[in-house]
Amino acid sequence: MHSEQAEQIADLVQRALERDPPERAEFLDKACCGDAELRREIESLLRQENQAREFIETPAYEHVADRLLDEAGKLVAGQLIGDYKIISLIGEGGMGEVYLAEDTALHRKVALKLIKAGFGTARFLRHFRNEERILAGLTHPNIARLYGGGIASDGTPYFVMEYIEGQRIDQYCRDKIVSLRQRLELFRKVCAAVAYAHQHLVIHRDLKPANIRVTPEGEPKLLDFGIAKLLEPETTAIAQQTVTLQALMTPDYASPEQVRGELMSTASDVYSLGVVLYELLTGQRPYRIKGRRPHEIIRAIAEHEPERPSSRQPAIRDQKSLKGDLDNIVLKALRKEPERRYASAAQLSEDIRRHLEGLPVLARKDTFTYRASKFIARNRVVVAAAALLFLTLLGGIAATLVQSRKAHQAKAKAEAINQFLSDTLNYTDPRTTVKKTENQIITIKDVLDKAANQLDKENFSAHPEVKAELNSILGESYLSQGFYDVAEKRLRLALEGSKPNSPAALKIKVSLGDAIASQGRNDESEKLYREIIPDLRAQFRSRDVDSNYLAIALLNLGVLRRAHGNSREAEELLRESLQLISDGSEKSTSTRSVVRGTLVLTLMDQGKIDEAVEKQREAVAELRQTSPNTADFGYALTGLGSFLTEKGSFAEADANLTEAEKIYRRLLGDQHMWLGDNLRLQANSLYKQDRLEEAQNKIEQTLKIYRTNSGPQYLNFATALMIQGLIFNQMGRSQEAEQVLRDAVRIRNENLPKEHFLSALARGALGQCLTTQKRFAEAEPLLLESYSTLKASQGAANPRTQIATQRLVALYEACGRADKAEQYRSELVSP
């Protein structure tokens, strides 16, 4: 085509487009002058008008964005995510991909689960940290461990889990032709694992054959415990629709309350277990659904009654009829109403055991329980089926308590109490449960509040010890979750119901002291510990309380003494505590590291640097072995780095600090306060080495993190300002230095008592700056006051006092008062 002709066509089409369609024919008649071919061409283009309206209006990029994203998410073998080397992709789910990876630090295989875009990193992480502790605490032979999690360099959050080499439970049963009895026994192990998690207040929420693997040894392992919940707040807030869609894609194992978007509970897990059991027995799903469309499946789950397993084609040939017990058991687990199902996974498992042993099963008695609970509902009494069960259990508990203190009975009691908690958690009638506003999840606090409410309503006049015990458990739980005021209330109630000076009462007081101190009432807490420690020592010797309680009491009193400024007394208490916790159980390991960490700080306070470094090295070495991929390890490294700085071993200090920095950035992201603290300590070390530019850079990063997360009330904020001021001063930027240091002093004065050593240090730094500016008259009172405060509280040999002394020497030298300079120089330990 000639360009002239092309231009003519374009021109005429454009002009025709500017006219209303009815006028176009007339316009073209005139314009084409009988050129039929030209006119055909133009009309053919104009015919596209409607179709072309929306055509390519959206930029090309958006068409492929999703695909690019999908593809960008895939990792390749050999790629490193943190310390984990990708081996291969082993699965893809709604949340993201799962990779087999090698932990290069511990040389073991792990499963690494990447969380797809859409879960905002910062918020996700905050939530993750809260729950991680609980999930990582699930140690059960049939539950795959959650080792931890982190943030990849591109911002993608990930979990690291125990890698299970195994087959899906349904495939395993099909391929290995497991007998009915074997299937039921395998399934009971699954129930036991679920029950264990429920006792730890963790709901799975996504139980299905794909999440239940059987190892070559025939042991079932549950994957992804609690992960679904971990992600939920993000999903409801951000990507509601996407996730709804994801949830719809495999709803077969979801409970009615789940597909209706209602609150989930342990009963939802019981339901999912029922579906899994149904499938293991029949090889089929409970509902015959014509279509596979999400809304059809949802309707079936929410409304249709499942067929009796015995009416379906059996999955196993050698099985006796499923009629009777097994039908009843499966259907009881699959009830639409959560409160009509088994009260717990343990109960479901127990019923299967009874069936296997030919005993009558609970499932038959269902109608009675149901009628009873309906009666209660009619009478508008707010109790649940779980409460009924609880009341029946009471007799057993009381008898146990009265009879004796034998170990196995104590264990039975503990189990009964745990049962109460998990039953309370199980209690999910939407009309009476803790109803939160839409899109909110039930937190552990909600569950505890509910249990507490219910406990207050029960009548325990015959057995106050049981109520005390339950109150004490609730108090401990609140305490561990950081709800100190409610914890205190519950612990005081527990104390009222316990015999004075009994071992139980002493244990409660240990926690009570913690709750009190955590609310800032240090003197009151200290008084309490001073009272109970002699009794604890006596009872520990007579073996009535175990060493942990005494150790924790000593630790807490030690912390309080140190806060009071008496590090020497704190040291003695902590040494005694450390000696008590010598066994290697997991629980005492974490207590030990806290005790040792605190002891190290008291050693530092007193200038016993060498011993502090030595103790801290032990801690680092231990953690490097046991948990190198944790923020705690980073914390220990940071501590060691800071002590080495004090000692003047700068190269080693910097190595430890930067190793910790890397761990923090990987696990905690770039905004965490711990990272801020680490950078501050690096700045301090660099300042001492006179590497001022680098120090300046680090301290600016520190202050940025502090400002973003907290502000002046954070204890180390003023410390960071002090370091920044000293760096400025050393750089010769004395005006800026003075300004920053005056800020630091002001913040200390606003937040701490004048005689606190931190306040004294800030005034000393300002004094140093004024000395540099030759404003000796202003510097002298500040430096003298800083010196005497520090000397009084820390002793003359303390490194902080030494710095203050050094500053005085420098002042007197600068203003030419040699005698004074000499007097203070004589107090320096190493000139």
């Binding site: 283009l45 072309a52 390519i56 090309a60 492929v64 960008a72 591109d154 911002g155």
Partner: protein, 190 residues
């Protein structure tokens, strides 16, 4: 992944001088960077699902090119280059992945059928690209408008600055090009 700005800058300069071999070496670098940025963007802005290709290209450019040693004659040149890059990247990507992904896409459509499908049917980028090539033979400037708007994500006003024509001309060009390309693609499909 470690590419210094120097590499890219040098390659861009050569490319600009007409050395077409360079683009083969340049593409993967810029592509990687764009992909990375795209991922970050999507992660951050998933909620409202806004993605600004211009911003993306601009950011990639700033990161990869040492602007001090490259003296772009004007803004126009930069956007021209960016849009061309985007076109190459996106079309290449579509070409290599279409076949493999088709099965997955169909499945996705079935799963989503209970929900609203996007009002606009997906564009077959490879076909569009070759149609645009044909179009450019008769209408070089108009095809540039398409490149800048569809691939580069530019607004009419920006395009008018780049091509030194009025905004009205840009819109007329655009409307005509859409008719032409739309017809070319529907003929193709028959």
């Amino acid at each position: 992944m470690e590419k210094t700005p120097d590499d890219v800058t040098e390659l861009l300069l050569k490319w600009q001088e007409g050395d077409d071999d360079v683009s083969a070496r340049l593409m993967p670098l810029v592509y990687e960077e764009l992909r990375r940025l795209a991922r970050n963007y999507l992660q951050r802005e998933r909620a409202d699902h806004t993605l600004q290709p211009t911003a993306l290209v601009h950011e990639a450019y700033l990161r990869m090119v040492d602007s001090k040693s490259v003296t772009w004659k004007d803004r126009a040149h930069f956007y021209g280059i960016a849009a061309r890059l985007m076109r190459r990247i996106l079309v290449d990507h579509a070409r290599t992945h279409n076949a493999a992904k088709r099965g997955g896409l169909e499945q996705k459509l079935i799963l989503e059928e209970a929900h609203d499908l996007p009002a606009e049917a997906p564009v077959e980028l490879v076909a569009l690209d070759s149609a645009l090539e044909d179009f450019a033979r008769s209408y070089p400037r108009k095809s540039e408008v398409v490149e800048l708007k569809f691939f580069g994500g530019l607004q009419a006003r920006e395009i008018s600055e780049v091509l030194q024509v009025s905004e009205k001309t840009v819109l007329r060009d655009w409307n005509f090009a859409k008719l032409w390309l739309c017809r070319a693609l529907s003929e193709n499909a028959l």
